[in-house]
């Protein structure tokens, strides 16, 4: 899609019906469209298959919302989420919809700060603000928000959010021992029971097996994309892959996986034809750390306008979401739920202690993606990732991996300073 053609579609009637602040959301729609054009559509020689994702973004406050409302009308559960510790397979087994909610924009922070303290993570503030100000159609369209206890800011914010929209909180343990597994499994069972009650039906072994297959296929498609993007020719930009990863949280999973595979097919053709970004000899950067929720493209934008290409995201919106799939050879529900829980327990979030597996994961993915440096990204006030950056720095230093840690929020005011750090890091690698 060209920049001239692109527009985030509006449906004021739909938004009004959802109880939104239409006037404000209209302004946000125009701003988002402008940022999208500058970030994505200004790129030259993009893969044609990115067109699907451009259209998805253009339609994200419209078509996808209507799909969710249609599902709701049929009594299918529609769940909003903020994390990767969400057993979405269970939602899909009940023919429901799981969507990541809005949490990546500075536009809703001031709304949140009317209630929440200023010095907490911007993602939590943005998430709360979108609901408090009624400026996210996804929030308006969900039956239930799924919250978890991965950090203090989240778990206490859910208490406030629950007053605005029903919020189910699942406790995520902080260690990975057998007793933690048992507790987590019980939480998954509770969540399943709550969903079953909403849907008025039961999850069956057959429906869960089909749902596991659906989500596995989505994760496998993203794994394939991750392998192709890092080919020496660099057939696609890091920004485009980040966008696809962000879309993985709100598109319909079967359609999404098919489109990711279409993109992958094209990337294979580009590689065969020798097409890619490698001609300009960019530095290959891997990003690790905290998630970049849509529309947070700040760091990728800076990196990719400074003579580098991002070849991997070790992040919730990234490999923490798609690295592991669920073994799908069980035929009874208890064994399936246990397999599902085991898979989720393999995710290496910094909320766990110890979390040595994450250090191993970063260095393994660094080697696998043939990166030349790691930029660790911490959202401001995300203490667990911020502290873990010190261990990651030591691990990288021991293996002679160039490493830099950055801390930032959603505001544009530190772009100049971030750019200096990123450019200096790239110079350091390139020299």
């Amino acid at each position: 899609m060209t920049a001239e053609e692109f527009e985030i579609k509006a449906d004021h009637q739909l938004w009004r019906d959802l109880g939104m602040d239409v006037e404000r959301f209209e302004k946000m729609r125009l701003t988002l469209g402008e940022v999208y054009r500058n970030t994505f559509l200004s790129q030259k020689n993009r893969p044609a298959a990115m067109d699907y994702f451009d259209r998805l973004v253009a339609d994200m406050h419209n078509g996808r919302i209507k799909e969710m409302l249609a599902a709701k009308a049929q009594g299918r559960p529609v769940i909003g989420t903020f994390c990767v510790y969400v057993p979405e397979e269970v939602v899909i087994a009940l023919d429901g919809i799981c969507v990541g909610l809005c949490a990546g924009s500075p536009a809703s922070i001031a709304d949140a700060e009317k209630v929440l303290p200023r010095n907490i993570c911007p993602m939590v503030k943005s998430a709360y603000g979108f609901k408090a100000a009624n400026i996210c159609p996804y929030y308006q369209a969900v039956d239930l928000v799924y919250g978890e206890t991965t950090c203090d800011a989240k778990k206490k914010t859910w208490e406030l959010l629950d007053k605005l929209v029903p919020t189910h909180v699942m406790e995520i343990p902080q260690m990975k021992r057998q007793r933690d597994f048992a507790m987590w499994l019980a939480e998954v069972e509770d969540f399943t029971a709550r969903l079953e009650e909403m849907a008025g039906r039961k999850v069956t072994a057959a429906s869960l097996a089909a749902a596991i297959d659906t989500v596995n296929s989505k994760r496998l498609a993203l794994q394939r994309l991750d392998r192709l993007r890092c080919h020496p020719l660099l057939p696609v930009s890091g920004r485009d892959v980040l966008l696809v990863e962000q879309c993985s949280f709100y598109d319909e999973p079967v359609r999404f996986a098919a489109q990711v595979n279409v993109l992958c097919d094209e990337l294979e053709q580009r590689i065969a034809a020798g097409i890619g970004l490698a001609a300009t000899n960019p530095v290959r950067i891997m990003v690790s750390g905290t998630p970049m929720a849509l529309p947070n493209w700040k760091l990728h934008n800076i990196i990719e306008s400074s003579g580098a290409v991002v070849v991997h995201e070790e992040s919730c919106i990234g490999s923490r979401y798609y690295r592991d799939i669920i073994e799908n050879n069980h035929t009874d529900l208890p064994a399936q739920l246990a397999a599902l829980t085991r898979r989720y327990m393999r995710i290496n979030c910094s909320c766990f202690t110890p979390n040595d597996e994450r250090l191993e994961q970063v260095t393994a993915e660094y080697a696998q993606q043939q990166a030349q440096g790691v930029i660790d990204y911490t959202l401001q006030f995300c203490h667990t990732y911020n502290i873990e950056a010190a261990r990651l720095a030591q691990t990288c230093a021991a293996q002679n991996i160039p490493f830099m840690a950055l801390e930032s929020d959603y505001s544009p005011e530190d772009i100049g300073q971030l750019r200096t750090r990123v450019e200096a890091f790239i110079e350091q690698i390139a020299d």
Partner: protein, 253 residues
Amino acid sequence: MDVGIDIGSRTIKVVALQDGEIVHQQVVAGSYNPAAQARELLRSLAPRRLVKTGYGRHLEVEGAAVVVRAITEIKAHAIGARYHYPAAATILDVGGQDSKVISLNAAGGVASFHMNDKCAAGTGRFLEMMAVSLGCELDDFATLAAGGGADLTINSMCAVFAESEVVSLKHAGHSAADIAAAVHRAVAARLVAMLRRGHGGEPLVFTGGVARNHFMLHCLQQEMGGQLLVPPHPDTTGALGAALYAARLSTGA
């Protein structure tokens, strides 16, 4: 002529080289329109090779230069410091908006760097604000502080809070000299903490506009218990590095 221009947050610095010799250097206070100012500074120099650095390195100021590049101030300071001190291993650069510690490898390349967080503490701007609040010209601030005692401390390193702390110290009857000395020691302590994180060994070179402040140098040497080398014109180290880098570039001729 090969020219390096360092478009900083508070000042713009220019260094021109002819056959590898410094033939011109200039420092001017930045205005609201740094691009126009930089263009004006460059006009009479008519650089053939131009390298831009500093906060405004991506501004279009090149005019008719044949070869133009932008490098970060980190790289520019590394090159500039090595010109004066070929064995330099660590650089402490304290400028108007930020301060950084750069450690160099044996070849003079950047091995690692640390920068202050996005606030004014530990920067030239902080000293400037404190000087203003004590009614002192920035150029006289070091001399004022040197006459102060060693007992007073400033606890807050946030520029905004430190300003109110200075106000209360004034009202408590402390002398401007004592307060100025405390401000310097507080900044030095902050810089030393950064240095301890990113130290790449001796020799240690102190660059940037704040390196002209002799009392800051004194405080840092006292805290570090060692010598800091200050180049002849510490504030133009970045522009010099940029000019030296320009001189290495091929003109394609």
